[in-house]
Structure formats: structure tokens, C-alpha cells
């Protein structure tokens, strides 16, 4: 031990006057009175309450605090996300007209609301519309983003980085900025569409929602897929091409299957985002189910001129969440590995 090690010990021991001077600077935790590693000797003589004992133990064993912090954070997070659902369920179960005094239990019991939902409005129709719009957008996003991701991730071309930044820039725009020109555009009759749509406009068609929503969620998918496709070893693509695929064939037969977690992540994120989308869904149709109005319009449809059927709105909200919840549970493993991992061994 070098002489320097003694110097602080000299000062410290004399200052606190404990008389427990340790010339060898030995571990203080071995003090006879059970003092702590960090506490001074006289601290141990103070009468301790439960809280200071807890503090003392925490200092000795910081892992306890981290674990406690984790539980507090997790419980807080679960509470803030799940409690609204719980309350939604309580509201849905409470019969109409007794909506006051719901605290933790429903004021009455009326599971029939989940059936009434479909009787009052063709809610299944709205769900079908949402499902079609979300699926179509997801497919469109995945196909286009796969091609873009292949180009950005696996090819070298001039202007690659500026183009990628430009693509990402699109996602920074607020959707409202696009709304007025798009709404105007979709209400303009286009002669090409006249054989398909009666009035030749895209308003009240899935196209009016699928196109703008896909464009808005495309950059994220491109970004995710670019990262994944870039990690597939070149040798595999070369092998596929020599074996008989085109570049595109190699993308679909080798690169996409090997990037399944990334594709699943991009797909599920897009599906959820489109399914939950409010702005375009609300404004691009007239709210009639036969005109491709999505779930959102269905839920708002229980809000009549003279009364608001809160219990049906709650029940329909829960029903509307179910498909997405099921999707997430099914794809959970892929999403988690897609969001966290990335490295793929050959």
C-alpha cells in the first residue's frame, strides 16, 4: 500500500473523533456496532425508524431500489393505459340512463349493450370498412416500402441519402396540411374514374382514405424495411440470382422472408396506425357505412341529436379495439424481435 492511502484516513479519523482510527484503512463495514459501509460509526447509535432502515438497506443493496422503481413505473404505465379500458367496460355494462355514480363497478349490469351496438347501427359494416381500408393500406405500404427499402438498403446510387431524408421529411408534415388540397382533389370529378365511381370522384371511396393515409405512414415503413433489407448478406441475394431469380424475385423469395420480423413490425405498425387514424377517416366520407365510413363514424353515430348513447359508444369502442388487440398478440413475438433485434446471421 502506498503512503498516500493513509493521508485521507488520518484527517477523517481525527475529525469525526470516533477514536476508531484504522491505520490500515481497512473496510469500515466490519465495525463492531454494525455500521454501514458508507455511514459513520456514530450513525449507528441513532434510533432508527422503519423508513431509515429501508433507506439503509437500499444503500447496501441498490438492486432493491431499481426493482422497486421498475415496479412503480410498470404499474403506473399499466394503470394509465389499462384503466381507461376498465372504465370503458364499466360504462358499456351500465344500463342507459344510469351513467352517474360509476366509480369502480358498473351501475347495474347490461351486457346486452354489446349486442345492441349491432342492432342500433350496422356497426359490423363500419368494422368491415375499417378493416378493408387498413388492410389495403398495409398491403400498399408494404409493397411500395419493400421496393423502396430494397433500393435504399441494397443499392448504391447517387443522391441516396438526400432522397432518404426527403422521404422522411414527408412524415414530419402534419396531416392537416394535406387535407384541404386533397379534399378538393378527391371531390373533383375525374373522367377516368367515371366508369367505376358514379360521380367520378374519390370522395366516399376507400381510395380517398387509403391513398393519403398510406402516403403518410409510408416513410416509417420505408425506414424500418431499409434497415432490415440492408442487413441481409449480399451473398444470399447473389446466390438467388444465380439460381434463377431476378432481383425482384430475390427480394420476394429470400430477402423478405429473412426480414420477416421487420416486415411484420412495419405491417402491424401501419395497420394499427391506419385503423386508429382519425383525420382522413372522419373527413373523406359522408359517414354512411355504404360509403366506406370507418369505425370512427360508427362510434360517433351513437351520438344522436337529442341523446348520446354513451354505453353503446363504450361497447363499440371495445369491440373496435379487439381486432387490433388480437393482431398484436399474434404478431407480438415478431414485433418485439423486429423492434429490438436486427442482426441476422447468415
Amino acid at each position: 500500500m502506498s503512503p498516500n492511502d493513509h493521508e485521507p484516513t488520518d484527517d477523517g479519523a481525527d475529525r469525526d473523533g470516533s477514536g476508531r482510527y484504522r491505520p490500515d484503512g481497512g473496510p469500515r463495514s466490519r465495525l463492531a456496532d454494525g455500521g454501514t459501509a458508507l455511514g459513520r460509526a456514530e450513525d449507528a447509535e441513532i434510533e432508527r425508524g422503519p423508513f431509515s432502515r429501508w433507506v439503509d438497506r437500499s444503500i447496501q443493496n441498490p438492486q432493491r431500489v431499481y426493482r422497486a422503481m421498475f415496479y412503480v413505473a410498470a404499474i403506473f404505465f399499466l394503470f394509465t393505459t389499462l384503466f381507461p379500458f376498465y372504465w370503458l367496460l364499466m360504462v358499456a355494462l351500465t344500463p342507459e340512463g344510469q351513467l352517474q355514480d360509476i366509480v369502480f363497478t358498473p351501475n347495474g349490469f347490461n351486457p346486452g349493450a354489446f349486442v345492441e351496438v349491432f342492432q342500433t347501427l350496422p356497426f359490423h359494416w363500419y368494422m368491415f370498412n375499417s378493416f378493408v381500408i387498413a388492410t389495403a393500406s398495409t398491403v400498399l405500404v408494404l409493397v411500395v416500402a419493400s421496393l423502396a427499402g430494397y433500393a435504399f438498403g441494397r443499392l448504391e446510387f447517387p443522391g441516396k441519402t438526400p432522397m432518404m431524408l426527403l422521404v422522411l421529411l414527408v412524415s414530419f408534415f402534419p396531416p392537416a396540411a394535406f387535407f384541404i388540397p386533397l379534399n378538393d382533389l378527391f371531390n373533383t370529378p375525374v373522367s377516368v374514374l367515371e366508369p367505376v365511381m358514379s360521380d367520378g370522384t374519390l370522395y366516399n371511396t376507400p381510395g380517398a382514405m387509403v391513398m393519403p393515409i398510406s402516403a403518410i405512414f409510408m416513410p416509417l415503413a420505408i425506414f424500418i424495411l431499409t434497415t432490415f433489407y440492408a442487413q441481409i448478406p449480399d451473398g444470399l441475394e447473389d446466390a438467388a440470382r444465380v439460381e434463377g431469380t431476378t432481383r425482384l424475385g430475390a427480394l420476394f423469395r429470400v430477402i423478405i422472408p429473412l426480414s420477416a420480423p421487420g416486415v411484420a413490425t412495419a405491417g402491424v405498425l401501419t395497420f394499427i396506425a391506419v385503423y386508429n387514424e382519425f383525420f382522413f377517416s372522419f373527413l373523406m366520407t359522408d359517414g354512411q357505412p355504404e360509403n366506406w365510413a370507418p369505425i370512427l363514424e360508427g362510434i360517433l353515430g351513437y351520438q344522436g341529436q337529442y341523446e348520446i348513447l354513451f354505453n353503446l359508444m363504450a361497447a363499440s369502442s371495445i369491440i373496435g379495439v379487439l381486432p387490433v388487440a388480437i393482431l398484436v398478440i399474434v404478431a407480438q413475438e415478431k414485433i418485439v424481435s423486429g423492434l429490438t433485434a436486427g442482426a441476422l446471421k447468415e
Binding site: 439460381e243 434463377g244 431469380t245 447468415e346
Partner: protein
């Protein structure tokens, strides 16, 4: 039907020329190794044949077809990659049959062919395994089976054995030769390992800096290297080189002189700067060199380090007494040192002063400035007596 021809193939990248005016003709059924140091353009050459890279200039022909602008899939080639490149999401059967399934063969035909291919590479009973459940050697066999199952016109192999351990590599080497005999298909094989190239190929194409240096059968490359690069690259350990000047009665180098009559050697004139090349096994101790037909004058040297290999001993010889202290740049190209290989029963110690001679018929002379070979074997042409008396140090 599967000759491969490269005509003036050049591949330029932004900053480098990877392949520089390559002309190559590979005959039907031939096993040709493209060999060269890393980054010499041999893999790029192969990629242009496979179609994975499009040459900046020049034509690639397979058979009679100009394939320069054809996609890889339309060229009738199969390729085995250095990193094996099995599709990790498919089992062995799907990997092998990948190319067949893309070409819409009948199911029974696919099954029959896959089984035959698996039999050739001895993979029977493993068809339902996944690549990550197999050893390196087995994966390599799957990759080879995937290549042979389509009956390609040309096999391309890009360092297929590089990732295998030494023992397996030697084993796979013989397997590949056996396979070549069995299939009788044109094989183009890229390697940086000259031993692999020597043992397997019908002809070796030595490439350096994107240019073809020599394409000849292995022993021709070994015995009659076309230039300094080939001489130094083929053969392990490498050839000894010594730069010198031709004088009236032979060659003068920094540390020793070699006596011959320049007039009897064509292409060599008095005053030329030439580089002498001699392989370690063509350097002999004077005391054991009586049976040499054309030995050169003796050279006094000091033994430095001995490397017993079991079947032979490599002896580093110092030509200059003072050189021992100077740990200068590259020992293999240094002209102060000679490497000699002798039989293992030779009685030699480190630091011993000995006299050595060269086998005159195995000496190579190269033009120092261009690197081109001038002559292979000088003593037989100079007509000097076998066992010439030791040359005295000339002034």
C-alpha cells in the same frame, strides 16, 4: 458446349480498375483456377462471368452465346460462394431444389435430381435439416449440391473452401477433383491459395492488379513462370530473388556472382539489369551437390534460422555477414538472404558457414524493369561443366 471466353473485359469502379482488359479462354470441361492476391480482381472477374457484375467494357461468352448483357439466371451457370450463402430459412431439400423450383420442373424430376445430387456430395438422409443444424463441411456440400443439381454448363466457385478448417479443406479439395472427373463440366475456381490452385486445376490463371499474368498448367506456371509476379506467387515458400547486372562472364549481384556465358542466352545482353530467381529446392549444399548436372559456382553463406518441417528443412542463408543485424523490410524479397530447402537428414546448425550452389537448369532470369521472364535454366545452354569450380569473389 461450354467454353468460357472473356474478351477485353474491363471493370472500372469510381476510383479503381478492378479488372483491366482481361482476355481469357477456358475450354469445355476444363478446371481453371483464377489465383492472385486479395484485391487483384479475380472475384470481380468471376462476377462478370456469373452476371452479378456488368463489365464496363468487353464481351463475355459462354458456349457460343454472348452473355454480356444477360441476367445471371439466363447464363447456365451455377455458383458456390465463399460464405456458402445457403438460404437460412429453407431446409436442405428446399435449398438444393431452389433453382429447379423456379424453373417449373415436375415434382418427381425435382426429387430425383435432388436425391442424385445429394448422393454425389454424400448428404443422403440430411435433406430435411436446416442449414444452421449442419457443420461447415456439410453446408459446403449443400452449396455444391445446389450448384450441380441444375446441370449447369459452367460451375463458378468463389473460394468455396476458404471458411473451412485446414483438414476439411484438404479433404474437400480431393472431393472437388473427384466431382470434376465425375461431372466433366467446366469449372472456374477462384482462390488466393496457390496450393489449392496447383493441386486441383488443369490450368492456372494468375491475376495481379486486374491483369492476367499467365494462364498455363500448374507445372508450367511453376517451372516456367512468365514474370516475376508469377514466379513469386506460385510456390511455397516463395522463390529467392536477387537483382543484378549482366557482365561479360555472367551475372553480378550485390552479394554474389554467377558465372555463365551471356552470349549463349538469348534475350540477355551484357549490361542488362536482370533479376535472378531460384526456388529454395534448387539451392544445394556444395557437399551434397555432386550429382547435379548443371550446378553453378559455389557461394559462401552463413546459415541463419532452420525450420524443420519434417519432410524437409528450410534453411535461411545469410549472404552477407553484416546482414544479420539489420532487420530490414521484407525478408522474402531481400537479396541478402536465401532460402534453401534440404532433406531432413542433413547435418546443419544455425550460424554455420557453408557453401551452396544453384541448380543451373532451374535458374530463372527476369528483366528487372519489366518483370518479364527472359530465360528459364541457364547452365544447360551455357554449356559449362557440371560441378564448376567455386567462383572467386571478383573485384
Amino acid at each position: 458446349m461450354a467454353r468460357v471466353q472473356l474478351e477485353h473485359v474491363t471493370k472500372r469502379y469510381e476510383d479503381v480498375v478492378a479488372v483491366d482488359d482481361m482476355n481469357l479462354e477456358i475450354k469445355d470441361g476444363e478446371f481453371v483456377c483464377l489465383v492472385g492476391p486479395s484485391g487483384c480482381g479475380k472475384s470481380t472477374t468471376m462476377e462478370t462471368i456469373a452476371g452479378l457484375t456488368r463489365p464496363s467494357e468487353g464481351t463475355v461468352r459462354i458456349g457460343e452465346t454472348d452473355v454480356t448483357n444477360l441476367a445471371p439466371k439466363d447464363r447456365g451457370v451455377a455458383m458456390v460462394f465463399q460464405n456458402i450463402a445457403l438460404f437460412p430459412h429453407m431446409d436442405v431439400f428446399d435449398n438444393i431444389s431452389f433453382g429447379l423450383r423456379l424453373r417449373t420442373f415436375e415434382d418427381e424430376e425435382i426429387e430425383r435430381r435432388v436425391e442424385t445430387a445429394a448422393e454425389i456430395v454424400q448428404l443422403e438422409g440430411m435433406l430435411d435439416r436446416m442449414p444452421d443444424e449442419m457443420s461447415g463441411g456439410q453446408r459446403q456440400r449443400v452449396a455444391i449440391a445446389r450448384a450441380i443439381v441444375r446441370n449447369p454448363d459452367v460451375f463458378l466457385m468463389d473460394e468455396p473452401l476458404a471458411n473451412l478448417d485446414a483438414k476439411l479443406r484438404v479433404h474437400m479439395r480431393t472431393e472437388l477433383q473427384r466431382l470434376h472427373k465425375q461431372l466433366d463440366t467446366t469449372i472456374i475456381y477462384v482462390t488466393h491459395d496457390q496450393a489449392e490452385a496447383m493441386t486441383m486445376s488443369d490450368r492456372i490463371a494468375v491475376i495481379n492488379a486486374g491483369q492476367l499474368q499467365q494462364i498455363d498448367p500448374p507445372l508450367v506456371c511453376y517451372n516456367q513462370p512468365a514474370n516475376l509476379f508469377v514466379a513469386g506467387f506460385i510456390g511455397s515458400p516463395s522463390m529467392n530473388f536477387a537483382e543484378g547486372t549482366v557482365v561479360a562472364d555472367g551475372l553480378e549481384t550485390e552479394n554474389f556472382d554467377l558465372e555463365f556465358d551471356p552470349a549463349t542466352v538469348s534475350d540477355v545482353g551484357v549490361g542488362d539489369d536482370v533479376t535472378l530467381g531460384v526456388r529454395p529446392e534448387d539451392v544445394h549444399l556444395v557437399r551434397g551437390a555432386d550429382d547435379l548436372a548443371h550446378s553453378t559456382g559455389a557461394i559462401e553463406v552463413t546459415t541463419d534460422v532452420l525450420e524443420p518441417m519434417g519432410d524437409e528443412i528450410f534453411v535461411y542463408l545469410l549472404l552477407d555477414e553484416g546482414a544479420e543485424q539489420s532487420m530490414e523490410e521484407d525478408p522474402m524479397t531481400s537479396s541478402d538472404q536465401l532460402l534453401m530447402s534440404v532433406s531432413p537428414d542433413t547435418d546443419l546448425r544455425e550460424g554455420e558457414a557453408v557453401e551452396v550452389v544453384f541448380d543451373g537448369s532451374k535458374i530463372h532470369l527476369f528483366d528487372t524493369s519489366s518483370g518479364e521472364a527472359l530465360v528459364h535454366g541457364i547452365a544447360d545452354r551455357s554449356g559449362s561443366e557440371p560441378g564448376t569450380t567455386p567462383t572467386e569473389a571478383e573485384d
